[in-house]
């Protein structure tokens, strides 16, 4: 069986995306994956550190492309969603051009683009989101989603600036924030709009509890990677987004 190589470009202090994506994709019924990361230095989620981190992208792509991945995920949602509308397309385009110039065949996805792709596939127009960010950054993420055509009916910012600390936010705290949202009339809940805030174990239960599609930066990322690799989307126990092809895959 071909092992699909997944390249991850992550903030240096990130641990969650390298935990949740393998946990998700190893449940795939047909395919195998290996994961390879390149790191951009970033410890505090502030506008300055995010800008400094984005400047390291080119180096990270050089490093990760050397491993000949099948697909690369630029896994920092807030770094792109605090930019101007369309920033994820610009970043993905620049990475794709860099890869193509060097003859790499790797596909490019970003967790920001993946979230928009997943919300679109779910036909979600009105959404609610939980973020770990400081309020000004969270407001920018909300603005980015609204500029992308989604109505953000309600949102929470847990106001954690230290990225290592974001990786330790408890499931109880995330669920408490989700329960405090006004979900009336919403089509989907983004339980973690951040690849570093852990939420994988919450997605399926939250979907049961709230009775609407629940997704996270990680499940959206997994969805986008599978679609990019033309693999069936059939991951159990991670929300209906990842069961899109479950019947087909058996």
């Amino acid at each position: 069986m071909h092992t699909h190589r997944v390249g991850l470009v992550v903030p240096s202090s990130n641990v969650t995306v390298e935990t949740e994506l393998p946990a998700l994709l190893c449940r795939h019924p047909q395919a195998r994956f290996s994961f390879h990361s390149a790191r951009m230095r970033m410890r505090t989620v502030s506008a300055q550190q995010l800008a400094a981190m984005n400047a390291q992208r080119e180096r990270c792509i050089m490093e990760i492309a050397d491993a000949a991945p099948d697909v690369i995920l630029y896994a920092c949602l807030v770094a792109l969603m605090t930019g101007e509308p369309g920033e994820h397309q610009r970043a993905e385009g620049a990475i794709a051009e860099q890869l193509a110039t060097g003859g790499s065949q790797a596909l490019v996805r970003s967790s920001a683009g993946a979230l928009i792709e997943a919300l679109t596939v779910l036909n979600a127009k009105r959404i609610a989101i939980v973020t770990p960010y400081l309020r000004p950054l969270a407001a920018k993420v909300v603005g980015y989603l609204e500029a992308s055509g989604f109505e953000v009916a309600d949102w929470r910012a847990l106001e954690v600036a230290g990225n290592a600390e974001v990786g330790c936010i408890s499931g109880e705290r995330v669920m408490a924030a989700a329960r405090s949202l006004d979900l009336s009339g919403t089509d989907a809940l983004v339980i973690s709009a951040c690849v570093q805030m852990p939420s994988l174990s919450l997605v399926a239960a939250a979907e049961q509890e709230f009775g609407l599609p629940v997704l996270s930066a990680a499940t959206a990322g997994a969805y986008s990677l599978l679609r990019g690799l033309r693999l069936p989307v059939a991951i159990p126990d991670a929300g209906r987004l990842l069961r899109a092809d479950a019947a087909v895959a058996g």
Binding site: A65, Q98, G102, G103, A106
Partner: protein, 221 residues
């Protein structure tokens, strides 16, 4: 006329290798004032093994770009004593042939042409020539990589008659090249034949156009 619609929008970029990125940036950015507009850092990720490289772009006006590749640690491939850094030729290769390949950049006016001449003449790469042709005026220099660069301005618009003439020349050229023994004599003979063949048709069209015009005049009055 091919009947094919013409969709192209000019030059996206024309790319060349350089072994002297510092001089290349001095020439294009600092002497000519062409902004650096793009760069890409990459490595050889395809089947061919090649060094890490940077691909960088200067705006040459109109959104068009000239681009360079700089490969870290690459030595220029061996070749003859003349040419540029991309193509080296033997000592006996004719100079006119080596100089035939060049990039010409358009400017609008005499003042603009003279301004670029002034910038070049004050640099390490002065103009080698200022030349007035029938329809254009040009200055020439070699960039730090030995590539011939021309700046040119049109002295008058190219007329439809000249387009017609160019197409006659090219049709005649294709005929004499396929005939197996091309020469200028054969080309001009063939071109004269084509003019005779087509003249009756042009005359008819010209008359038709004139009649149409006269008809419109009549209708109007």
């Amino acid at each position: 006329m091919t009947g094919l619609s013409h969709k192209a929008k000019g030059v996206d970029h024309a790319a060349f290798p350089t072994f002297d990125p510092a001089a290349t940036v001095r020439f294009y950015r600092d002497v000519l004032g062409f902004p650096v507009v793009h760069s890409i850092c990459a490595a050889g990720w395809g089947p061919e093994d090649h060094p890490d490289f940077i691909h960088f772009f200067f705006d040459i006006g109109n959104g068009d770009r000239i681009a360079f590749f700089y490969y870290f640690g690459l030595e220029p491939p061996a070749g003859g004593p003349q040419g540029d850094v991309y193509a080296r030729f033997a000592a006996d290769a004719p100079r006119f042939f080596i100089r035939s390949r060049h990039l010409a950049i358009h400017v609008d006016s005499d003042e603009d042409l003279t301004e670029y001449q002034r910038r070049l003449d004050g640099s390490e790469w002065p103009c080698t020539l200022r030349l007035q042709h029938e329809t254009i005026e040009s200055i020439y220099t070699d960039d730090p990589n030995g590539y011939m660069i021309e700046f040119t301005r049109a002295l008058r618009p190219v007329t439809p008659q000249e387009d017609l003439d160019a197409n006659l020349t090219i049709d005649a050229l294709l005929d004499v090249v396929s005939g197996g023994n091309p020469s200028m004599d054969a080309l001009l003979t063939r071109k004269a034949e084509l003019i005779v063949e087509r003249a009756a048709d042009w005359e008819q069209r010209r008359e038709a156009a004139q009649n149409e015009g006269a008809q419109r005049e009549l209708t109007r009055s």
